[in-house]
């Protein structure tokens, strides 16, 4: 659906070219929620703006449905942008217009008939749950309500793609959750492709299907969220997971130094998360185990558990082989 092909982008600052993106190759599938995570300055803001060409690449191509958007004429580009919604960290609503007028604006730009605009705006206001606030001005709304207006505005023209530029970074955790739930619902209902940039792993974990980790203008890790989240490889990715989980592995290993036995990290995903596997295997193989650290949570719709366990006594090798065979990911730590 969206393809980046060998994208280079640099900005001219004080007569020098400062690279922002260095050789990005990515493909985003139709209907998925694709997360791009990175620290500020990693280039994620630039990357998302290449899709609707708010930024132009210095080299390389951006294809949407196999059309090279960098080659479009000005009017074709405007027509294409009318089919890509975008929401922003600071909402970017018109302060001088009401909620209704704000949502009607993209429809006017796209040249809809006045008679068609009013019912569509009402429909969108109802979809984001702001019926009570239709005639208020943005200044009278909370942050979460403003972002709901932003979402209704972005989706009013029935776009196929929604770009989210740090859409929840200005919101408190509870509001973030409700806005993400709304986005996830909309993704399912409309089979909408969502590209979301963020610096919070928690946002990625809650709604993304796949994630790309951006660092220094390059994609350093890419894959399904569960894979990247549970088995982070790049130091930057580990940093993000740590921030989300408040787990510092090196610190933990120091704490476990005096614990006897073999230290293993077990990762359960899906149905195995709730199965009594550890107990069954322990009875079978006569091992003892103590759980040193662990977490059980969900990644989007998939439950997962990750336990750091010390095994002692019994046939540990057989136990690990059994756990592996039953679908767990087994990593020996010590």
């Amino acid at each position: 659906m969206i393809q980046f092909q060998n994208i280079q982008k640099s900005f001219r600052v004080a007569d020098r070219d400062v690279p922002a993106l260095q050789g990005i190759d990515l493909e985003i599938e139709a209907g998925e929620v694709f997360g791009i995570i990175g620290h500020s300055g990693a280039g994620k803001s630039t990357l998302v703006r290449l899709i609707n060409l708010l930024e132009r690449p210095s080299a390389g191509q951006v294809l949407i449905d196999n059309i090279d958007v960098t080659a479009l004429s000005a009017s074709a580009l405007r027509a294409m942008r009318q089919n890509i919604g975008m929401i922003f960290q600071h909402f970017n609503l018109l302060a001088s217009k009401t909620v209704t007028e704000n949502i009607a604006w993209p429809l006017k730009i796209a040249g809809w008939e006045a008679a068609a605009i009013a019912p569509r705006v009402r429909e969108m206001i109802a979809r984001v749950g702001l019926q009570e606030h239709a005639h208020k001005y943005p200044a009278q709304l909370s942050g979460g309500q403003k972002q709901r207006v932003g979402i209704a505005r972005a989706l009013a023209t029935r776009p196929k793609i929604l770009l989210c530029d740090e859409a929840t970074s200005a919101l408190d955790p509870q509001t973030t959750r409700s806005v993400l739930d709304l986005l996830a619902d909309i993704n399912r209902e409309l089979r909408l492709t969502i590209v979301l940039i963020t610096h919070e792993m928690d946002v990625v974990r809650r709604i993304c299907d796949r994630v790309a980790v951006l660092d220094g203008g390059r994609v350093v890790e890419l894959g399904p969220v569960a894979e990247v989240f549970l088995h982070p490889k790049h130091p930057t990715t580990r940093g993000f997971v740590f921030e989300a989980e408040h787990v510092d592995e090196t610190e933990q290993y120091d704490d476990f130094a005096h614990v006897p036995g073999r230290l293993v990290r077990l990762t359960f995903t899906g149905d195995t998360t709730y199965a009594p596997l550890l107990g069954e295997v322990a009875r079978d193989t006569g091992i003892d185990f103590s759980i040193l650290a662990g977490r059980i949570d969900r990644i989007k719709d998939t439950p997962y558990g990750q336990l750091t366990v010390a095994f002692s006594a019994g046939d540990i090798d057989a136990a690990l082989a059994q756990l592996s065979a039953r679908g767990l990911s087994v990593e020996e730590l010590r």
Partner: protein
């Protein structure tokens, strides 16, 4: 000496009316010319929608030149042009062209400044929706900058009141003319006091109306 013995109230009334006519007439033309000029200055500036460095530099230069000419000088220099436009350089009609030329660059700068206050994110959002420049100007920039532009209109109107009074120097009519001919040249202090008080009242009223409008249209 009894107060106000020299004051011819009928003449004061006529002069007040003339001042209001000069103010209204010149304000309308100033807005009609200054608003598009201000929008053009904003759009052609560096890193804006229609970035045109040479055009911007040229417009900016003309605006600066006109703004740096003292208004009294402009009044005199413009007399031939004024005669061409208004048919006369005297009275109410003769005052309006120099007032407009004097105030338009000033107002255009105020408009440009007000537009720069609009959050860039709003322009970006409009671009992301596929808006063209015209849709961005009329749909976002002007409505969002309306309080700032109204404040600019207020400041410009008040400047025009003092410019209009100055045009009395070349026989422009109105309260300023009265103040110069009677108050200054014939030493009739009471006429001077009355005209100044009326001008003061006019400025107060304009400022009050302007402030009310700005508050009415501010949604922040």
């Amino acid at each position: 000496m009894a107060f106000f013995t020299n004051v011819d109230w009928a003449e004061i009334g006529q002069a007040s009316l003339d001042t209001l006519t000069m103010l209204g007439g010149s304000l309308i033309f100033t807005i009609l010319l200054g608003l598009p000029l201000g929008v053009l200055l904003f759009l052609t500036a560096r890193r804006q929608l229609l970035e045109q460095p040479i055009l911007y530099a040229a417009l900016s230069f003309v605006v600066n030149v006109l703004r740096s000419v003292p208004f009294v000088i402009l009044l005199i220099v413009m007399i031939p042009l004024t005669v061409l436009i208004a048919g006369t350089s005297l009275g109410v009609a003769g005052a309006i062209p120099p007032l407009v030329v004097g105030a338009t660059p000033f107002f255009a700068r105020l408009v440009e400044t007000a537009l720069r206050e609009v959050d860039r994110g709003i322009i970006e959002a409009a671009q992301a929706m596929g808006a063209d420049t015209k849709q961005i100007v009329f749909g976002a920039l002007l409505p969002e900058a309306r309080p700032g532009i109204l404040a600019g209109v207020t400041v410009t109107a008040i400047t025009l009141v003092s410019y209009a009074a100055m045009s009395g120097v070349i026989g422009g009519g109105g309260l300023g003319d009265l103040a110069i001919r009677f108050g200054y040249q014939r030493f009739q202090t009471d006429v001077m006091v009355v005209t100044v008080l009326l001008l003061l009242a006019l400025v107060q009223v304009l400022q009050m109306i302007g402030d009310r409008l700005v508050i009415h249209y501010s949604r922040k």
